[in-house]
């Protein structure tokens, strides 16, 4: 089952190469739908009380080097896998209704990217994770470079230069991570049989001296991917170059792989280093929140507004994880899904707006709501979810994150809370600029067509469903998250009571780890 989930997109992509040009789009949508179906089936069959791995698949892959092909689902990755399947269906379907040059290669690469992304979420072998993590970049390199937009006319750079920048930035982290992963396994093995199984490595553990540098090698890879403040240099150019359906899934899912990596690998494998560097990472996270928000205020390109808002949101998620409290990490997982579900529709709406207005500049947009009330309503829901309106699932996510942060580091929590306020500003600015105000000359305002509705409405329905029932996620992730966080805190941290009972748990206390 889990093998089908992982390889179905690739298989469909390969077959698609041999189909006639016109059939390849619908075929790719079918592939994404089949994957989504499998993912939904696995979510239904998931045992929500179990904190361990489920649907385990494990066979030796390169026995000489100790690498296993091992996949599994647990509370940490279940909903990220589902998110991947949902967003890819949306992105591929949106692209299928449009004409792209060389459609066979385009859809092939989209589906390869889905397999790679699912692989990095599912992998339970450290090296397999690194492999998929690096491999994710390859299809996006081609998608962004070959189908992207050159920005030389606007004083920017070409698509191929932008993607080169992106790939070099992200691989700096990834390659160091490869060295760090191998070092982790060899140090744990201590002359014995080398294994890269994350489960086995957790049990053995490595000394603090090695943990320190290995921690930063991993952190570099994950922080670049998000991207975090100071490591985000590739983001503006890449976001402006990317074709929008690919950007929707890229921004919606790939950034989360970095945050997920912290939860899956860094916390359980390097617990002492995590505690030691907790505050440094929190500072980076807060800087991302503030910088991302401020940049999102000032940008006029709608892609960059969404891009910088992602930097801020990912800062929130990182802060939640590094609160090192179960609440914070619960919130982070929930927020990863929430953010994916709002940012992908934003990029699809940007694509729809681009077709109508011919511009991505928010100053030249506006007045759309009058003639296109449905589109405006959909956009409004997405925008309100982005700013974490009470009642939305994003509100719950941010509440959990802040709750975790208050329990751990109250000072950081106060700063982080300003980010919530700022998100209201940039989300509303984006919505108002595009939908309200006076209609500029020459702008075509028309209602969203059925083709785009088919893509957009289900995504918005997912946002609404989660707003009504966030427990769907929290109930299933909480056992695994508690287990992961307990590895760092040694079980001394108060367990999350919020996830099971809706009552407060000491959320004014400043209780650094080690005081208990």
């Amino acid at each position: 089952m889990i093998n089908v989930l992982l390889w179905a997109p690739l298989a469909f992509g390969l077959v698609g190469l041999f189909l006639p040009r016109r059939a390849v789009g619908p075929w790719a949508v079918l592939g994404a739908l089949v994957t989504l179906g499998v993912a939904v089936g696995m979510t239904i069959g998931f045992d929500s009380g179990d904190s361990g791995l489920q649907y385990v698949e494990s066979t030796p892959w390169i026995s000489g080097l100790g690498v296993d092909y091992s996949l599994a689902l647990d509370g940490l990755n279940l909903f990220l896998v589902l998110l991947t399947a949902v967003l890819w269906t949306g992105g591929v379907a949106f692209a299928a209704f449009r004409d792209y040059e060389r459609p066979k290669t385009f859809f092939f690469l989209m589906l390869v990217a889905e397999t790679a992304t699912l692989g990095s979420f599912l992998a339970q072998d450290l090296l397999l994770f690194v492999l998929f993590f690096d491999f994710m970049l390859v299809p996006f390199y081609f998608l962004f470079g070959a189908w992207g937009h050159d920005r030389t006319a606007e004083g920017g750079i070409t698509a191929s230069a932008a993607t080169l920048k992106m790939i070099i930035y992200t691989l700096i982290g990834s390659l160091l991570m490869l060295v760090a992963a191998i070092a982790t396994a060899i140090i744990s093995a201590d002359g014995g049989h080398i294994t890269f199984s994350i489960q086995a490595l957790q049990e053995q553990g490595i000394g603090l001296g090695s943990q320190r540098w290995i921690f930063w090698f991993f952190a570099a890879a994950f922080l670049v991917k998000m991207p975090a403040f100071l490591l985000h240099g590739w983001m503006p150019d890449a976001y402006r170059a990317a074709p929008l359906p690919a950007l929707a899934v890229f921004s919606g899912v790939l950034a989360k792989v970095g945050a997920y990596g912290f939860l899956r690998i860094v916390l359980p494998l390097f617990p002492e280093a995590t505690v030691e560097f907790q505050e440094i990472v929190l500072v980076i996270a807060l800087a991302s929140i503030l910088y991302g928000s401020v940049m999102a205020f000032t940008q006029t390109n709608v892609r960059l507004i969404a891009g910088y808002s992602s930097v801020a949101q990912l800062g929130f998620i990182t802060a939640g994880i590094f609160a090192l409290r179960a609440d914070g990490a619960d919130g982070a997982v929930l927020q990863m899904v929430n953010h994916g579900l709002v940012v992908a529709p934003i990029f699809i709406i940007v694509a729809i707006l681009l077709e109508r207005t011919g511009t991505e500049d928010i100053r030249e947009m506006g007045g759309m709501a009058l003639r296109a009330p449905v589109l405006a309503a959909l956009f409004l829901i997405v925008a309100l979810a982005t700013l974490a309106m009470p009642g939305s699932s994003n509100f719950i996510g941010e509440f959990y994150i802040l709750n975790g942060l208050f329990q751990a580091k109250i000072v950081f929590a106060f700063i982080a809370i300003t980010g919530v306020a700022m998100s209201a500003y940039y989300a509303l600015r984006l919505y108002q600029g595009a939908m309200h105000n006076r209609k500029p000359e020459g702008l075509m305002s028309r209602e969203i067509g059925w083709r785009d509705s088919v893509v957009l409405v289900p995504l918005v329905l997912c946002i609404l469903a989660l707003a009504l029932y966030p427990q769907l996620i929290l109930k299933r992730t909480n056992p695994s998250v508690e287990q992961t966080v307990a590895k760092v805190t040694g079980g001394s941290a108060p367990n999350s009571k919020l996830a099971t009972k809706n009552e407060e748990s000491g959320w004014t206390g400043y209780a650094p780890i080690g005081d208990k």
Partner: protein, 500 residues
């Protein structure tokens, strides 16, 4: 008086016999008119027979010719890589001008001569066989580099290679003299015993010998700072020869590098290990930085070869079974990746007027997918991206380095790989993406590389089976062993077990 007939293990030396017979037959075939066109076929038959005989001897280690050669899995695996590269070189040479100008029989028998040197070198366990084999390998290559008679670059390449190669050989020979002088033995085992017996541990005599031998081998494997000839020679030589030279020479030289340093000089580990590690690091930096900004594909491959040699030297540095296995694995991986790239370069050289300039592959993705995919896979593999054998090769090397306490060198490999992306991906971008600058309008003669009038354009070259076939096969192998690396890992670990 008693005459003892020496014991000759004919089975063990059968690959060498097959090659020698092949050289004579191919050379003579050119003389007889009816067989004039059959030199490539005869060469392929010889190489096939050699490969068969080598595989027959697999997993049956033994000493040959009173210990002058050692036939073990390390030697056989390296020889097989050399034979494979030679076979593909024959295919790529079909229709190459150089074979016509130099004479097909001579060209192919020289190629076989070089292969003979490589097979010998990969088995050498004696200073004399070591040196003789190295020269047997080199001299035909000097000539082959210069076979494209009408091109100035080719002659220059041959001459340059001759001079630099001779300096390398002379340095090596001088170093050998020191070692022989100190230990009184030419056998690798004898040298190790002599060092221990004569109390020469850390003796200047031995250290000078080691240093000079290392420099000599560094010339052959194009390790920086002894690499200056590489880009020029790679660019000037006929492209099929470049492809052969880039991989097979490296493979054979690394085989003897391993054997010499780990068998004969194993006791002096502490003195040569840091020095070789430094050379590896320099090579990685110099090669990768040098490749940036190159416009000739063959020069890019040359500089990248310097960097790749630096990665591979890491396998020698750690002096362990894992190191040796990882080196053999990387060499095999390198063979596939290079082959795919060079096959495409040959095809485009004949097909376009741009020679080996990067403009020759511009827009290849739309125009000739059957060539664009192999070159793309090759570039991604050389850059070490996952799902190619290049990633597994790097993984293997890094694992060996970390295990051998050379984590810093592993970090160098990671950093070098990062730099390398800038030029490997430039080639990929040229094939699939819109050009960075406006393309020079077609019809303008190439500036870099060959003078266009010397190489007539063959517009169908991109469809010829003997060019597309090797490219597709090698690219398929690159992906196959990237996804299912186990067979190649076993092949390499056999070779690694031979030394330790």
């Amino acid at each position: 008086m008693n005459f003892n007939e020496p014991h000759i293990d004919y089975a063990g030396i059968s690959p060498l016999i097959a090659l020698t017979v092949g050289i004579c037959v191919v050379l003579l075939s050119a003389v007889f008119r009816p067989f004039k066109r059959s030199a490539p076929l005869l060469t392929l038959i010889t190489l096939g027979a050699t490969a068969g005989l080598l595989i027959w001897q697999w997993d049956d280690p033994k000493n040959l010719i009173t210990g002058a050669l050692r036939l073990d899995d390390l030697g056989i695996s390296i020889s097989l890589i050399a034979v494979m590269m030679a076979a593909f070189c024959v295919l790529l040479s079909i229709g190459e001008r150089a074979t016509e100008e130099a004479g097909s029989g001579e060209y192919h028998s020289l190629l076989l001569g070089s292969v003979l040197g490589m097979v010998l070198l990969s088995q050498a366990t004696n200073l004399v066989t070591f040196f003789v084999a190295l020269e047997t390998l080199s001299i035909p290559l000097y000539i082959l580099c210069a076979t494209n008679l009408r091109r100035e670059g080719s002659l220059e390449s041959g001459l340059k290679y001759l001079i630099v190669g001779s300096i390398g050989s002379a340095t090596l020979l001088y170093g050998m003299a020191f070692l022989y002088g100190g230990t009184g033995s030419t056998g690798f085992q004898g040298i190790a015993a002599g060092i221990a017996h004569n109390g020469l541990d850390g003796d200047p005599l031995i250290l000078i010998g080691i240093a000079m031998a290392a420099v000599g081998l560094a010339f052959k494997t194009s390790i920086a700072p002894f690499h200056q000839w590489t880009p020029d020679v790679y660019q000037g030589a006929p492209t099929p020869i470049t492809s052969f030279m880039a991989v097979a020479t490296k493979a054979a030289a690394f085989a003897v590098f391993l054997r010499f340093f780990e068998v004969a000089l194993g006791s002096q580990l502490d003195s040569w290990q840091p020095a070789l590690a430094a050379l590896a690091a320099i090579s990685i930096v110099v090669g990768n930085v040098g490749a940036l900004g190159q416009d000739s594909l063959k020069r890019i491959m040359g500089w990248s070869g310097v960097a790749q040699a630096g990665y591979m030297l890491g396998g020698v540095v750690v002096a362990s079974e894992a190191g040796t296995s990882s080196l053999v694995f990387y060499l095999a991986a390198y063979a596939f990746m290079n082959l795919a790239a060079f096959a495409v370069i040959v095809a485009r050289e004949r097909e376009t007027i741009f020679g080996d300039d990067i403009r020759a592959v511009r827009g290849l993705g739309a125009e000739r997918p059957a060539l664009a995919w192999p070159l793309t896979i090759s570039m991604l593999g050389l850059a070490g991206l996952p799902a190619t054998v290049g990633f597994i090769g790097k993984l293997y090397l890094i694992e060996a380095l970390v295990e051998g306490d050379y984590t810093w060198l592993a970090v160098f490999i990671a950093v070098g790989t990062m730099i390398s992306l800038a030029y490997y991906l430039r080639v990929v971008a040229a094939m699939w993406m819109r050009p960075e600058r406006d393309a020079v309008p077609g019809g303008t003669p190439a500036i870099a590389g060959a003078a266009p009038e010397a190489d007539p354009v063959d517009p169908e070259a991109g469809r010829r089976w003997y060019l597309v076939g090797p490219a597709v096969l090698a690219a398929a192998a690159t992906v196959f062993f990237g996804v299912i690396p186990q067979p190649l890992v076993e092949f390499a670990s056999h070779a690694g077990a031979a030394l330790f």
